[in-house]
Every structure is written in structure tokens, then in C-alpha cells.
């Protein structure tokens, strides 16, 4: 095919892709899509999958110390859900032509990122409450919006994930509520966790709309449908009331209801801290990545054995048939 014809075909494909986006039709794995759309999704979905998996570490830190059998059961079930989310997000990304092992390599090389929030430590039992309530609470706001994202497999994964995340948020809130209704020590732990997780949770929505460089394409292709600041406002509005109900103080002296905007105004977010953590200098960046790399390396012999066994059995089956 001549170069001119190729260009014409490409432009037809792009046109049909854009028409689909315009009609709000889902883009499916076998549909033609611009390379930049594919790359954007691989980056976003793999980052999301890695976040689920790395997020198992701070919560995993408290499994053996969960203070009751019920608490342990709920925490284990929750972490198991996160691992499950990781699995189906990896699968969704695989439909775009990248393998799970490639994604893990990219995580280890630093090319792929995970949510910054998991670079903070889980220090007391109330942190498990705060992670469920605030971190999963922030994630849900984002994920509810992503249920309508334009890529079919990602959108369907989000529908499933949202159902489980709302259970996670409730369990986190229940831990906080119980501790706030408990002893002075427990109330102190709960407020301490609130103070440490509030600002990082607000940072989960990313930079202000005026600063976010990628919002252009993501909006055009309907991968993203609401801006960082819109989503952050939704989160703050619902969370402030929940905090008040159980007697927790939001650690922001500038927080106040703005009647005209119909939202809370909040104090300035420390973006220096945000970029510092993104650039690898958070309290747990190295710990989280070292852990993932170590476990992956230590498990290599098991994966190799499973593969060798499978190949052996396939060969035996082939020989018995012939």
C-alpha cells in the first residue's frame, strides 16, 4: 500500500474511533484506537493495578496484630479484595497488548508508578480505619467517575471494584467510629491517624486543574470525565460530615462551608510534600518497592517450577496421544 493510502486508512480509523467516543460507545480491545490512547490507558490501568497491589503492604502490616477475630477477618477479606482488583486490572491492561510480567518490570524499573498514598506508613490500628475510610473513600470518588470511562474492560472492572470499595470504606469508618466511642487512648489514636492521612488523601486527586498537564487528551477521549478539583471537592464534602458525626476534627483550620460554591473551601495543600513523595522521598517509597522486588525475586523458583511442570505434563499428554 502506498504511503498516501495508508495515511487515508489511518485517518478513517481515527475518524471512526472519534465517532464512537462522540456517541459514548465503549471502545473494546479489538477496536482500532490511536496509539496515544492505548499508551495512556496502559499507563493509567497498570498504575491503578500496581496501586492495588502495593496498597496491600501498609494494611498487611496490621493483619497479625488485628485486635479481634472479627477485625482480622474483615481486614484479611479487604486486602484479599485489593489483590483481586489488582488481578482484574492487570487483565484489563493485558487486553491492550502488554503482559503482567512486563508491567511488573516497569514497576520495578520506576517507569510505572503506583499511588503515592501507599508511601505513607500504617502506624497504629486506627490507621487501618483511616486507610479504609479516607484512602478508599477518596479512591471511590475517582472510581465511581471511572465507571463511565471510554475503554470497556476498564469501565467494567471499575463497576465491580466500586461495589467492593464501598464495603471497604464502611469498614474503615466503623473502626474509626468504634475507636472514637472507646477509651481516651483509642480516641487519641483515631485523631492521630486522621491528622496524618487527611492531607495525603486530598493529594490522591492529583494537582489542581490549573496544573494538571494530562487533562487534555484524557478528557477528549473520555477516559477521564471529571477534573481533579471537582472530584476532590466531592470527597471533602461527604467526608467532613462523616468526621463530625463521630467527633473527629479535620486538621485544616481554613476549612469552611462556602455557600456560594456549594462546597467546602479548604486550606492550601502542601504540593512540595506531594512532589517530594512522588520523586521517591516519601517515608516508605523505598521500603514498598524493595519489598515487592524481594518477594518477586524470592518467588521466581516457584513460578519456574510451575512452568516446568506444566511443560512436562503437556509433553506427556502429547506423547500419550501420538
Amino acid at each position: 500500500m502506498e504511503l498516501k493510502e495508508q495515511t487515508a486508512v489511518q485517518s478513517d480509523l481515527l475518524k471512526s474511533f472519534e465517532e464512537k467516543i462522540g456517541r459514548d460507545d465503549a471502545i473494546e480491545p479489538k477496536d482500532k484506537m490511536p496509539d496515544a490512547y492505548r499508551k495512556h490507558l496502559i499507563r493509567q490501568i497498570s498504575q491503578h493495578a500496581h496501586s492495588e497491589v502495593i496498597g496491600m503492604q501498609p494494611e498487611g502490616n496490621w493483619i497479625t496484630r488485628a485486635p479481634s477475630l472479627r477485625a482480622k477477618q474483615i481486614l484479611l477479606a479487604k486486602i484479599q479484595d485489593e489483590g483481586g482488583h489488582g488481578l482484574y486490572l492487570y487483565s484489563a491492561a493485558e487486553t491492550l497488548g502488554i503482559s503482567r510480567s512486563e508491567m511488573i518490570e516497569q514497576l520495578h524499573s520506576g517507569k510505572a508508578k503506583y499511588s503515592n498514598i501507599f508511601n505513607y506508613p500504617a502506624l497504629n490500628w486506627a490507621d487501618i480505619g483511616a486507610i479504609g475510610w479516607l484512602v478508599d473513600g477518596a479512591a471511590i470518588v475517582n472510581q465511581v467517575s471511572l465507571q463511565r470511562t471510554s475503554y470497556g474492560p476498564y469501565s467494567r472492572a471499575m463497576v465491580r471494584i466500586c461495589k467492593e470499595e464501598s464495603f471497604h470504606q464502611r469498614q474503615g469508618y466503623e473502626i474509626m467510629a468504634k475507636m472514637m466511642a472507646g477509651t481516651a487512648d483509642q480516641r487519641e489514636m483515631a485523631q492521630d491517624a486522621m491528622n496524618r492521612w487527611w492531607w495525603p488523601a486530598l493529594m490522591m486527586f492529583g494537582p489542581h486543574d490549573s496544573e494538571s498537564p494530562r487533562s487534555g487528551d484524557a478528557f477528549k477521549w473520555k477516559i477521564k470525565r471529571q477534573s481533579n478539583d471537582e472530584l476532590r471537592a466531592k470527597f471533602i464534602d461527604k467526608t467532613v460530615q462523616q468526621a463530625e458525626v463521630i467527633g473527629l476534627t479535620i486538621p485544616d483550620k481554613d476549612l469552611k462551608w462556602n455557600e456560594a460554591r456549594g462546597h467546602y473551601d479548604h486550606g492550601p495543600i502542601d504540593w512540595n510534600e506531594f512532589y517530594n513523595v512522588i520523586n521517591g522521598n516519601g517515608p516508605c517509597n523505598k521500603q514498598r518497592m524493595d519489598h515487592h522486588k524481594r518477594v518477586h525475586a524470592e518467588g521466581a523458583w516457584v513460578r519456574e517450577a510451575a512452568e516446568a511442570y506444566r511443560a512436562k505434563k503437556e509433553k506427556q499428554l502429547f506423547q500419550s496421544k501420538n
Binding site: S68, K72, D185, A305
Partner: protein
């Protein structure tokens, strides 16, 4: 020891096996060789907690002093735990964990099959529910012992080491004492000693299929069922019971 005391200790033994094993299984969270195994082992840990809740809750009822499953899990000292030593040994590596799961699940398959027919309705119901889970645990462990035993030279060596090192701990499962005798006669509980041949036959067949040698050592480690543990249990309890000990008045 009257029958109530025997029954109490009997339920604690079964419950503690589940509780301590759940602790070890849960340590695999974020530490498994692949994400699928992370989920599987966490799931088994959850099964074990459910079983521990049922059995410790029942033990509390039998004791009749108002202690709950949490009281028994979180406020008992090391000498009053009656799990077998095998459940408390460190995970070491994936091969050790799979060898332990095979030994325990194979035993439990025979044991809980018998207990499901017990005259005690509560234990029979717990056993019937548990048996469904055990079948899955056993098939999972069997699959991995086969894969690792008959996989690569490295995995074969690691699996053989695990099978050999844990073998002396398996015999404790088949010990039968006055508590067992009381339960055999009172509620028709299975006699652990009577299950050894079936277990040996079942496990040996799997090891052979996995191209592994069946250990021949006669040496045995024992004590857990009577509260004499390895050094590992103290560390498990120190960690597991930390919050209720540090904040005795707090409710979680």
C-alpha cells in the same frame, strides 16, 4: 478431668490449630510468589479464622464462664494453647508452607470426615462445613507439592527438604490421650491414632507421584497438644495479642 473439662480442652485443641495456622497463612499476604497465591493463602487464612471462631466460641460455651472466642484467642497464655507444633513453625519458604498444608489437610480430611458423624450436633455441623474447605485446601496443597516436587531441580530439592524437615512434626497429629478417649466414648469423635495408616497411604502416594522420597525418620516432636510449645508460639502470641494486652479496657 471430668467430661466438661475434656470437652473444653478438646475444642481448644481444634480451635487453636485453626487459629495459629491462620496466623502463619496470613503472613503470606503480600509475600507470595504470585498474586493468585497471595489470594489463595489469604483465603485459607480466612477459612481458618472462621473455624477458630466457631470452635473457640463453642469451647467458651462449654466452659460456662462467659469467655468469648476473642477472650480465648487474645487473653490466654502460651501454656494454655493446645495447637500442634506443626501449625506454629515459621513459614520458611513456599515449599515448607505447602508441605505443612499437605500434612495438616490430609489429616484433617480424615479427621473431620469422622467428626461430621459425631453425636455432638454442634461439632458435627462445624465439621460438615469445614470439610468442604478442607477438600479444597488438600487439593491446593497436593497440586503444589506435585508441581514443586516434579518441577525443576531447584524446586525438587526445596520440596524434599521441606517434606523431610516437617515429617517429625506430623506424628503429633496421631497422638491419642485421655481427652481423646473421653471424646471417643462421649460423642463418637474419631480416634486420631486410627487415622495414621490412611494418612500415610494418602501422603506417600502424593510424595511418590511428585518424585519425592517418603521420609523414613522415626524421630518425633511433640508437646503442643498439652501446652508445651516450640519457641515460636510465644512470639506469635506477643504479636497477635499486643493490642488487647496494651489496652485491656479498650473494645475494638
Amino acid at each position: 478431668m471430668n467430661q466438661q473439662e475434656a470437652m473444653f480442652k478438646y475444642c481448644l485443641r481444634l480451635g487453636d490449630n485453626a487459629l495459629i495456622r491462620s496466623y502463619r497463612l496470613s503472613e503470606w499476604c503480600s509475600n507470595a510468589p504470585i498474586l493468585e497465591e497471595d489470594l489463595a493463602l489469604t483465603n485459607f487464612a480466612l477459612d481458618m479464622i472462621g473455624r477458630a471462631q466457631a470452635l473457640l466460641g463453642y469451647a467458651g460455651q462449654i466452659e460456662g464462664k462467659g469467655r468469648t472466642d476473642d477472650d480465648l484467642a487474645y487473653r490466654r497464655g502460651e501454656r494454655s494453647f493446645y495447637n500442634v507444633l506443626l501449625t506454629e513453625l515459621p513459614n520458611q519458604d513456599f515449599a515448607y508452607t505447602m508441605a505443612r498444608e499437605l500434612y495438616l489437610s490430609a489429616f484433617e480430611y480424615f479427621y473431620y470426615s469422622g467428626l461430621a458423624g459425631s453425636k455432638d450436633a454442634t461439632l458435627a455441623a462445624i465439621a460438615a462445613k469445614t470439610l468442604k474447605e478442607i477438600k479444597y485446601h488438600l487439593s491446593h496443597a497436593t497440586d503444589w507439592v506435585l508441581r514443586l516436587g516434579d518441577g525443576t531441580a531447584e524446586s525438587h530439592a526445596k520440596m524434599q527438604t521441606a517434606v523431610d524437615d516437617l515429617w517429625p512434626y506430623a506424628s503429633e497429629l496421631f497422638e491419642s490421650d485421655a481427652v481423646d478417649a473421653a471424646m471417643i466414648s462421649a460423642i463418637g469423635a474419631p480416634d486420631p491414632a486410627a487415622l495414621k495408616d490412611s494418612w500415610m497411604k494418602h501422603v506417600s502416594a502424593i510424595l511418590k507421584e511428585a518424585t519425592l522420597d517418603v521420609p523414613t525418620t522415626m524421630y518425633t516432636h511433640t508437646g503442643g497438644r498439652n501446652g508445651i510449645h516450640s519457641e515460636n508460639l510465644g512470639h506469635i502470641l506477643a504479636e497477635m495479642q499486643f493490642l488487647p494486652h496494651a489496652y485491656p479496657d479498650a473494645k475494638w
